[in-house]
C-alpha cells in the first residue's frame, strides 16, 4: 500500500520522568510511519516546554495543555496538523483527553487501562463506537509475534479445544514502599486517585487478563479473586490470584504481583488443549513452545519461514535477531498506522493489520478490575463476569 506522508503524532504526557511515554515514541517512530509533530507533555508548562526541546519540536507545536493542543492543531492546515493523538498520562488523565481528541477528529492511541473507573469506561466505549476515528489501546504484549502465532495456532485447532489457561505476571519492583522514596512511577501507580481503585490488578492484571482472552479467543464468564496488600501502608492491592472460568468450559488461573521480590516483568502464558499445549514467556519472547503428548515438543521461533500470517505480519528481523518490547509496541503502532492509511485511502485493511487491541478490550479490562475487587471482598467463591456497556 502506498501513502504519501508520515502520520503526524501529538503526544499527551510523557514529560520528564515518564517511563512509558518514551517507549511509545520509540515504538511509533521505529518504522518510519509516524513523526512526532506536537505535544502537551506535562501539566506543568515549563516541563512541557523542556520536554519539547529535548524532542526537538518547534516551540509553536509544544503546548501547555492538551486543550490548547487540540484547538491549535485543528486551526492548522490539514496537511500540517496532527493525525493521531497518543495519550501516555496516568490513568486519571485518560478519559478527558481521549474524549476530546475524538471530538476534534483525531485518531487516538491510548495507554492501558482504558480509564480511571468503569463509569468513564462505558462513556468512552460509546464515544469510540460513535466516532469515525480509529482507537488503539496499547496492550503491548499482544503485539509480540509469537503471541500472534499462539493465537493463530489455537484458532486453527492445533492444540484442540482449550481446557486450561495459566497466565502469570509476577513483578517485584514494589517489594518495599518505593512510593515513599520519591519514585514517581511508584507514587502514582499506588495512588487510587490516579491509578484507579485496583493497584496490581489494574496495572498488570489487566494485561494478563487481556492476554488470556486474546490468545485463547475465549471469554471469561466467572471469576474468584484473592487479592493482597503485601506491604503495610500501601492503600491498594499489590498482589493477587484470580481463578477464571471461560465460556467454552475451560478453567484458568491468573496470577499477578508487584511484590514477588526480585522478579522483573516475566509475563507468561500457558494454554493446554485436548491435543497439545503452548507456552510463552515475555522475557524469552521470540520463542513459543509447543507441547505434545506423543512426539517431541517443538520450539517455534520468530522470524522463521514456517510461521503463520499473523506472526509474519508482526516481525521485522530474520530468525535469531531478537526483537523485544519496543518492537511489540511498534507492531501495535504499525498496524494502527496501516489501518489509518487504509481508511484514508478508502481501502479495506488486511485482517492482520486490524488485529490490535481497542475499546472492546479496554472495557473488558475495566470490568475485570471491578469484578476482581468485588469478588475479593465476597465470601462467595464465584462471581459472574458481566460486561455492561
Amino acid at each position: 500500500m502506498s501513502h504519501s506522508k508520515k502520520l503526524k503524532l501529538g503526544l499527551i504526557g510523557g514529560g520528564p520522568g515518564s517511563f512509558i511515554g518514551a517507549i511509545h515514541l520509540n515504538g511509533a517512530l521505529m518504522d518510519g510511519l509516524f513523526e512526532l509533530a506536537a505535544g502537551a507533555f506535562s501539566s506543568n508548562p515549563e516541563k512541557s516546554k523542556q520536554r519539547g526541546e529535548e524532542l526537538m519540536l518547534p516551540p509553536n507545536r509544544v503546548y501547555a495543555s492538551y486543550d490548547e493542543m487540540f484547538e491549535s492543531e485543528l486551526a492548522l492546515p490539514e496537511e500540517e496538523r496532527i493525525d493521531v493523538v497518543c495519550i501516555v498520562t496516568p490513568n486519571h488523565m485518560h478519559f478527558d483527553p481521549t474524549i476530546k481528541a475524538l471530538e476534534h477528529g483525531f485518531h487516538v492511541a491510548l495507554d492501558k487501562p482504558l480509564t480511571l473507573n468503569y463509569e468513564q469506561a462505558k462513556k468512552l466505549y460509546h464515544a469510540v463506537q460513535k466516532s469515525d476515528q480509529l482507537f488503539l489501546l496499547t496492550h503491548t504484549y499482544s503485539g509480540y509475534p509469537m503471541i500472534k502465532q499462539a493465537k493463530q495456532m489455537i484458532q486453527n485447532g492445533e492444540i484442540g479445544k482449550v481446557r486450561k489457561v495459566y497466565v502469570e505476571y509476577p513483578q517485584g519492583w514494589l517489594w518495599k514502599l518505593l512510593e515513599h522514596e520519591n519514585n514517581k512511577q511508584a507514587a502514582w501507580r499506588t495512588d487510587p486517585t490516579k491509578n484507579g481503585k485496583a493497584g496490581c490488578m489494574g496495572d498488570i492484571g489487566t494485561h494478563a487478563f487481556h492476554m488470556a482472552e486474546y490468545v485463547t479467543g475465549e471469554k471469561v464468564t466467572h471469576i474468584c479473586a484473592d487479592l493482597y496488600i503485601k506491604i503495610d501502608g500501601r492503600p491498594i492491592d499489590d498482589d493477587g490470584v484470580v481463578l477464571m472460568r471461560f465460556e467454552n468450559g475451560a478453567s484458568g488461573v491468573l496470577m499477578a504481583s508487584q511484590t514477588d521480590t526480585g522478579l522483573e516483568n516475566n509475563l507468561k502464558i500457558r494454554v493446554f488443549g485436548e491435543k497439545g499445549g503452548l507456552e510463552w514467556e515475555q522475557e524469552l519472547n521470540n520463542t513459543l513452545l509447543a507441547r505434545w503428548p506423543d512426539r517431541p515438543d517443538e520450539i517455534y521461533r520468530a522470524g522463521t519461514g514456517y510461521l503463520g500470517s499473523l506472526a509474519n505480519a508482526n516481525t521485522r528481523t530474520p530468525a535469531g535477531h531478537p526483537e523485544g518490547y519496543v518492537e511489540a509496541f511498534a507492531n501495535l503502532y504499525r498496524n494502527f498506522a496501516r489501518c489509518i492509511y487504509a481508511k484514508k485511502a478508502g481501502e479495506k485493511p488486511l485482517p492482520e493489520w486490524e488485529d490490535f487491541p481497542g475499546v472492546e478490550d479496554g472495557i473488558r479490562g475495566m470490568a475485570f478490575i471491578d469484578h476482581v475487587l468485588a469478588s475479593n471482598v465476597s465470601e462467595q467463591k464465584w462471581t459472574p463476569f458481566i460486561v455492561e456497556k
Copy 2:
C-alpha cells in the same frame, strides 16, 4: 558412624508393571546400606514368584502374601530376618500392611499418600506414634538437595519473612482416557476404590502441598479449591487449583494437573519473601535460583562448596555431575537408614538425617485431600484447614 551389616529390606508390592516399586529399590540399593532380602510382590502368588526370580531372591524369601512374609520373617533368626518393610502398593493397600509391619516390629517405608482415606490415616498416625519403629513416607521431592538448600536458606532468614508461595505440579499423562487403554498405572490411579476419593489432588497435589509446607516451614490454615474432571468419563478430579493461606500471613497458589497435555512432571516451587525469592523446578533439580531486588540473581548449584549442611548431607556427586529423581529417593532411604543405625546403636542421629518425611506429613496430606474436596463443593470461598488426629 560404623555399623556391621546392611539393612535387610522386605518389599510389599512392586510386581510386574509397577512403576514406583523399581524406583524405590534403585534408591534403596544405590548407597549400599540396604539389601533386598524378601518380598511379597503381588497378591497373585505366581506373579510374586516371577518377580522374586527376576530380583534373584532365594525362593523361600518370596511370599504369596505380606501376612505370610511377616510371620515367616519373624520366625527367622534376628540377624537373618528383614529390618525394614517397604510398601509400594496402590493406596488402598497402604494401611493394613503398615499396621501389621509395625506390630511385627519392622520399620516401615511407605509410598505416599499415607492411606486410602482419613479414617485410616488417623489410626495409622496413632499406630506410628505408639510404635517404637521408624516410619518413612516417601515424599520424594523433599529429598532433592536444592530443596533442602531452599528450606535452610528460608530458615536462616535469607529471603526474609515469607509472603508468597507458588507451587505447581503440571502433568499431562492423563490427557486422554488412558485408563481405558489397558494402562495399569492409569487404571488404579483413576479408580477411587484404589486411589482414594481425590485423583490428581491425591496423587500429586499432596506432593505439592508437602513441598510448600516443607520448604517454607509454614503451615496452611485456609484453602479455597477449584477442581475439575477435564476428561468426560473419568470418575475423579484430574486437574485443579488450591488457593492457600499460611499461619504467618503468607498466601499461596497450588496448581496440579494430570491433563496439561504434553507436560511431563515438572513440579516447581517459588517462594518470595521480604528480601528475596527462591525458585526450583524438578526437571532442573540441581539448580536453585535466588532472586534479589537490588543485586544480580544467583544460581545455587548442587555439589558446590558454598551450600548449607542440609544440602551437603544429601548429595553424592561434585558440582556438574547431575543427580536426579532416583537420588532423591536414595536420600530419603539413606537418611532413614542412618537413623535406624543410630537407633540400633543407641545414638542420637544428626538433625540432617532426621529430616525425612513421616507420619505427621502423611496425616497433613490426607487432611489436604479431604479439605480440598470439601472446599471444591462449597460455595464459600474459604475453608479452614484443620488437622484432626
Copy 3:
C-alpha cells in the same frame, strides 16, 4: 545536551529485497535523533524511486546514484541538506561511496565489513583519519548493553586477567545452495566479487573477531585458521575455526559457520579469567552470566539498577522489558548522533558515547580476513597477525 534539530540521513542501498537496510533505518529512527531525508537506494533508478516512495521521501530527494545524491545535497542550504550518509550496500560498494561522502563533508555510518579488500581498507583508513567527519562501522553486536557490561567488568578486573576466550557464531541459513534458488542475500554473500574473498569469515567471522577484542580489550597476535567449503559448488568458505593468541598471553577459539544446519544467529562469547568468567549469547541478549569458582554464579540483567555506566548508557527499558537486535543498532546510532551533536556544539562527548566501532575496528577486521585466508592455506600452525596501515 540540547540540540535543535534531528540529524538528516541520506541512505545508500537498502533497495527492495535488502535485509540490513531496513534494520539500519529502524535503529536510526527509533530514538528520534535522525530523520531520513534522502536516498540512493538502488543502482536501478526505478527501484530507487520505488523505495523512496515507500519511505515517503519527497521525489526530489530520491536519487538515481550516490554521486547525484552527494552533488545535489551539497547544493542545498546547510540546514536542509543531509548530515550523515548511511551506506548499506553489498561490500564491493562500500569503498567508493564512503570516500566520496567524506570528501563531500558528510559523516558516514557504514555496514561492516569495512571494504571489499585490504587495499581499499588501508586507503579508507587513512581517508577517515584525515577527515574531519565522524565514522561509524556497524558491528552491531557491540551495541548490546550486556556486552558493554561485560567489557566494563573485565576492564574493572572483576574476573581477573583474561586467560581464555571462546567466541562462536554458528548460523545454518546457507545449509544448502540457497544462492542457486534466487535468494538475493545468499547470492551476493557467496559471490567473491561482491562479498570479498572470505565468505563466512568475512560476513560473520569479522563480527566474532570484533566481539572478542572489544569485550576483552586484548588484541590478537597470532592465528591458526581451518576453513571449509561445506557445500560443493560454493566458491568461498562457509565454515571455519580460528585459534587465536592474544597479546596478554590469553588463548582463544573463534568458530563461525553458515552451514550448521538448523541454527539461526546465536553469536556467543565466553571469557574466563583468573577469578571468574562471563558468558553472553545474542539470542538471550538481556542476560550476562558471571561464573565464580567459590560462590553462586550470577545473572546480570539489562535495565537493572546495579549495572555500570556503559550498559546504562545503552539501555532504554527497565529490567524485564527485553531489548533486542534493533536496539543494538539503535545504540550505535544514538551514540554516533550524540558525538555528532557534541562536535557541532564544540563539546567533548562522554566516553560512553564515543564507545562505538569505527575505522580502527574496520581495518582490523579486514586484516582478520586476509590473515585467516593465508593461515588456512599454510601448513604452518601459527600465522602472526599484523595490521599494516
Copy 4:
C-alpha cells in the same frame, strides 16, 4: 533373561578420599545386578580395612593388595568368589591389576583412561583381545540415554551426512594450584607419574574425543592441537583445543579445560549434518535438541514413548523424572552385567546391551593423548591420527 544370582564385585581402589570409587559403586549397585563382595581399597592396609568396614564387607574379603585379592578369591568356591573386578585407582595403577585380573579369570570394569601410557595400552589391548573375559571402560557419558538417542538418530540418517562436530568439556576446578592445597584429586591428576603425560587432555579430553566418535560413528583421521598450562607451576596441560578431521570428510573442534574459572562439568556436543543438527549437554542430560532448517526445532526427552531402542534400553524412569550421572554409570554396569549373564548362559546379548565402551575405545583414547601432545609441539598444522596396535 533370567539369572540366579547377583554378580559379585571386587573393588580395587576407592579408598578414603576417592571420588570416582563411590560413584562406580552407586552405579553398579543401583539396579540390583551386582553386590560388593570383596575389595582392596588402598595400598595402605589400614585404610583398606577402614573402607571395608564402612562398606560392611566381612573382614576376610578385605585385602591389603589386589594380588592378595586375586589369589584369595580364586581359592574360594566358584559360587562365592568375585565375578568382576572393578578398578578405580589412579591411572598409573590401571595396567597391572587389569592384566592380572584377566589372567585370573575375572571380568574387568576399568575407569578411564585405559592406562598410564601408550605402551601399556597396546599390551592391554592385546591382553583383552586374547582373554575370554569381558571388559568395560567407563566412558560414563556414553551411558546417557539421550546420547544413545543421538547416536541412533545419526545412524538412521535423520540429520543426513555429518559435516561438523563441536565437542566441549569446560571445567574450572583447577582454576588455581589446588594441588598445593592438600587436595588429593588435584594432586594425582596433575602429576604426570600418576595421571600420565597429558593433564586435561588425558583426564577429560579423552571423554570428549570418545563422545565425538561414539555419537557420530565417524573416526578421526587428523588433528591439530593447541594446549596450554594456564597456571604457572603446573607440570602438565590444563587447557586446550584440538581441531579434528573425520574419515567421512567432516570437521570438528574439541575444547577441554580445567581452568575455565567458575565452570563445573558441562560436557556438550553438537553435531550438524546435511539435513539437521543435534545438541546435548550433560548438565541438562535428559534433553536432546534437534535443529531443523525448515520446521520447528524439537526437544527430545528421556523416558518418553517416541525414543529409539538404544535410549529405551538405558532408561529407568518415565519422562520428567530426571536421571543423572550415577544412572549413566549404572547404564554401563547394567549393560555389562547383561552381557556377562548372557555369556554365562551361552546366549547372544542384544545389540543394545553390547553398546558399552571397551578396549577399542580405550586404545583410541590413549592414541588421542599421544597425538595431541605430539601435535601440540609440532609447527605443522596437521598431524595424522594413526592408532597402532
